[in-house]
């Protein structure tokens, strides 16, 4: 087994193997493609964040005084479209999945390296269309493109934006396809399915959703475009069509898409929590299978977005019940993580702080999802800030927290440098405090009846809205800080060495940054995942890791 004990010497790695812009733009190395994605989605994250700040500024006062109502419609639409399609969907799978899946299974690359590069280009082209739509008048349909507004009445750039979403969808399909095939066909000798890190299981489940769900969104968008451009009657009731059909098709993808955004974060949590508790993950089989269960059940709950849209009461009851079912595998994960923490040797490095934040925030986001899945409560709080708070707890509290957790945990592996621990901890705390201050008041606002998607509101809601805007400012600082100190660490950060956390997993058994083809020799796996007892127990004797 390569122990990488002498990897601190200057050595060729994937970053210095070749220089120049061409070596990046034509690379088929999954690690470089991951960094291309990281750069692009960071830009889109701050663009989406910019729209969010404008929304929060408008809502600082009850009167609609900063922007016109039409502009406000465009702001929340563009915030949603950019954050969902250009940041959250590709975030962890395309960056960390890309970087880590081959490394964690001891492969030299993903199964289809050229397809992998192509998916980045497809993503950029799709993003180009979305940016074009934003720059030439914007989009005001909400990120959901509901018909008939989107196909008939909206005066904004629906077709360009929809085309952008259609195209980025293919990048997501190809990433998912690549990951599934890689996990099936490229595992190192000895790495059986039940020895796989849970990050891999989570990405496998995510990829199944990407592969099965995204094509349905694609064809739905094609039909919307046909109706808008050529007045083909499909969804517009004036043309005899049924707008509910659009909602069914749209949510058939877009509800499972929520799990595309959260499952990878759950995979990250399993790695990080095991590492900083120095313990084997509790209930490995259950955590692995709960990812698969979420992927399967996630396809059966879509109509809970449509309780007030005019579906039958019986359909609503069934979808409500199925929605409760999907809470079970999510709870299985949360309980298994807490059981892993129990009697662990816990340390509080930055990734672990994010992991704690994730457990708490995701639990709140998930539980309020169960509230919303209950038809009676949903009728009361649908289209209020309660819904806004709920999905931000899942997507920011879960998705973005998981992304930042992964970014800190694997930053030393990707760059070979440590991030500055004190600054990183400070920003983790700021994110946690800022996030709760932003979104917790929104639960209250929603429960009191403040509707979403309005640029003005009655004065009695102002105090909570001011709290929310103040929290958003803190959150913004928490998000900007890593940009600065991570960039700083590229030059001045401490050398990380191959395995700064003494973590388990094949990716830590090679140099940081890894060599071009990941491993000097193909590893042979003879141990279970998360063998922290073995790593810590044998630490004084034979140097097993790093």
């Amino acid at each position: 087994m390569e122990t990488a004990s002498h990897s601190t010497e200057a050595k060729t790695n994937y970053l210095n193997a070749d220089y120049g812009i061409k070596s990046w733009l034509l690379t088929t190395d999954h690690k470089r493609i991951a960094l291309l994605y990281l750069g692009s989605i960071t830009v889109f994250f701050f663009l989406g964040g910019f729209f969010a700040m404008l929304i929060r500024l408008e809502l600082l006062t009850p009167a609609g005084d900063l922007v016109l109502s039409d502009t406000y419609n465009k702001l929340f639409t563009m915030h949603g479209v950019v954050m969902i399609f250009l940041f959250l969907i590709p975030s962890i799978p395309a960056v960390f999945g890309n970087f880590l899946v081959p490394m964690m299974i001891g492969a030299k690359d993903l199964a289809f390296p050229k397809l992998n590069l192509a998916s980045w280009y497809i993503f950029i082209i799709g993003a180009g269309f979305i940016l074009y739509a934003i720059l030439t008048g914007g989009l005001d349909t909400g990120w959901t493109f509901y018909t008939p507004y989107s196909t008939t009445y909206s005066n904004s750039n629906v077709v360009a934006a929809a085309l952008g979403v259609f195209i980025t969808g293919f990048s997501s399909i190809f990433t998912g396809l690549n990951i599934i095939v890689t996990v099936h066909r490229m595992r190192a000798p000895g790495l059986t399915w039940r020895r796989l890190p849970l990050f891999i299981w989570a990405h496998y489940a995510t990829s199944v959703i990407m592969v099965l769900g995204t094509p349905v969104l694609a064809i739905t968008i094609v039909l919307v475009a046909l109706e808008r451009l050529f007045h083909f009657g499909i969804f517009d009731p004036r043309l005899g069509g049924d707008p509910l059909l659009f909602q069914h098709l749209f949510w058939f993808y877009s509800h499972p898409a929520v799990y595309i955004m959260i499952l990878p974060s759950m995979g990250v949590m399993s790695e990080v929590i095991a590492c900083f508790s120095r313990k084997r993950i509790f209930g490995y089989d259950f955590v692995a299978m709960s990812s698969v269960a979420i992927a399967v059940l996630g396809f059966l709950v879509w109509a809970h977005h449509m309780f007030v849209a005019g579906i039958s009461t019986y359909a609503a009851m069934i979808f409500s019940l199925l929605t409760f079912f999907v809470a079970i595998p999510s709870a299985v994960k949360v309980f298994n993580w807490t059981a892993t923490l129990y009697k662990g040797s816990i340390t509080f490095e930055t990734p672990m702080l994010y992991a704690f934040a994730f457990i708490g925030l995701f639990t709140m986001g998930g539980l309020t999802g169960v509230f919303l899945g209950a038809v009676a409560i949903d009728l009361h709080v649908t289209d209020t800030y309660f819904v806004v708070a709920h999905f931000h707890y899942v997507m920011v509290g879960g998705g973005v927290t998981g992304f930042l957790c992964a970014l800190h945990f694997w930053w030393p592996k990707m760059t070979g440098k440590m991030y500055p621990e004190a600054f990183a901890k400070l920003s983790a705390v700021l994110v946690f405090v800022g996030f709760n201050l932003t979104f917790f008041p929104q639960f209250v606002l929603g429960y009191m009846g403040m509707p979403r998607r309005y640029h003005a509101y009655p004065p009695e809601f102002q105090v909570l809205n001011v709290m929310s805007t103040a929290g958003a400012s803190i959150l913004a600082v928490g998000f900007l800080m890593p940009m600065i100190y991570l960039a700083w660490s590229l030059q001045y950060g401490k050398e990380a060495g191959p395995n700064p956390y003494r973590a388990a997993g094949l990716e830590w058994m090679t140099a940081s940054p890894p060599p071009e083809f990941n491993f000097d020799e193909t590893p042979v796996v003879t141990w279970e995942a998360y063998n922290y007892d073995e790593i810590d127990g044998t630490k004084k004797g034979v140097e097993v890791v790093g």
């Binding site: 099936h184 094509p215 059909l245």
Partner: protein
């Protein structure tokens, strides 16, 4: 170039051997076809829902279809599947010339399909059956003519998407022909031919469902 040379030349760096490489690309292709099923599935589901909701209008729409075009095209596509499978077979035997001939035949049949489809589309235009642009339907039964328009909307969406897939397939066949002429395939390395074959058969299969659902289903219905 000998067989083992093309084999070595075509083994990508991240695979242990050609066998693993081939198993990987076959699996990838099947998975891609699953995504295609979901893609067309969205339209098949819409078709099913509207057919159940607007049954009489659906019958009226389907009865205007000219079955001879659909039938001839079905025959053309089945023949093209035969020539495709023959080209995969000859590629596996390392017969370059035979592979080329079969690929050209497949390509010709593919274009024949698209040509006939084009003639049919022109007929729809002449008969004012293109939704949105020039739709006018002689309304005789107990149904809303707008629902016949929806039938035609889905007809054009489904057959149009199928035609787009045929055009992509024609592009892939052309690429295979060029690669074959350059001697890239051998009895040991021929998986691109096989992968394009899978795709081509899949696109044929979509048509095998479209033909009865759009043309035949209401043929004997006295509505």
């Amino acid at each position: 170039m000998s067989d083992s040379e093309t084999a070595v030349q075509n083994l990508k760096h991240h695979f242990a051997d050609l066998e693993q490489q081939k198993a990987t690309s076959t699996f990838g292709m099947w998975l891609f076809l699953v995504t295609e099923i979901m893609f067309f599935g969205g339209m098949f589901a819409s078709y099913l829902i509207y057919r159940l909701s607007y049954y009489n209008a659906w019958v009226a729409g389907s009865q205007t279809m000219e079955i001879q075009y659909g039938a001839i095209n079905t025959a053309v596509l089945i023949c093209s599947s035969l020539t495709m499978v023959l080209s995969v077979h000859s590629a596996k035997l390392g017969k370059r010339k035979m592979t080329a001939i079969c690929l050209i035949l497949t390509l010709v049949l593919g274009f024949a399909f698209l040509g006939i489809k084009g003639v049919e589309y022109y007929g729809h235009w002449v008969h004012h059956e293109v939704p949105g642009l020039n739709f006018h339907f002689e309304h005789t039964g107990n149904y809303d003519p707008r629902h016949v328009e929806i039938f035609f909307s889905l007809y054009f969406a489904m057959t149009g998407m199928h035609a787009v897939h045929m055009i992509i397939g024609a592009g892939l066949l052309t690429w295979l022909l060029i690669a074959n002429a350059r001697g890239r395939f051998s009895s040991e390395y021929n998986s691109p031919v096989e992968m394009v074959g899978l795709y081509w058969h899949f696109v044929d299969l979509i048509w095998i469902y479209l033909f009865p659902l759009l043309y035949l289903i209401s043929h004997h219905h006295n509505g």
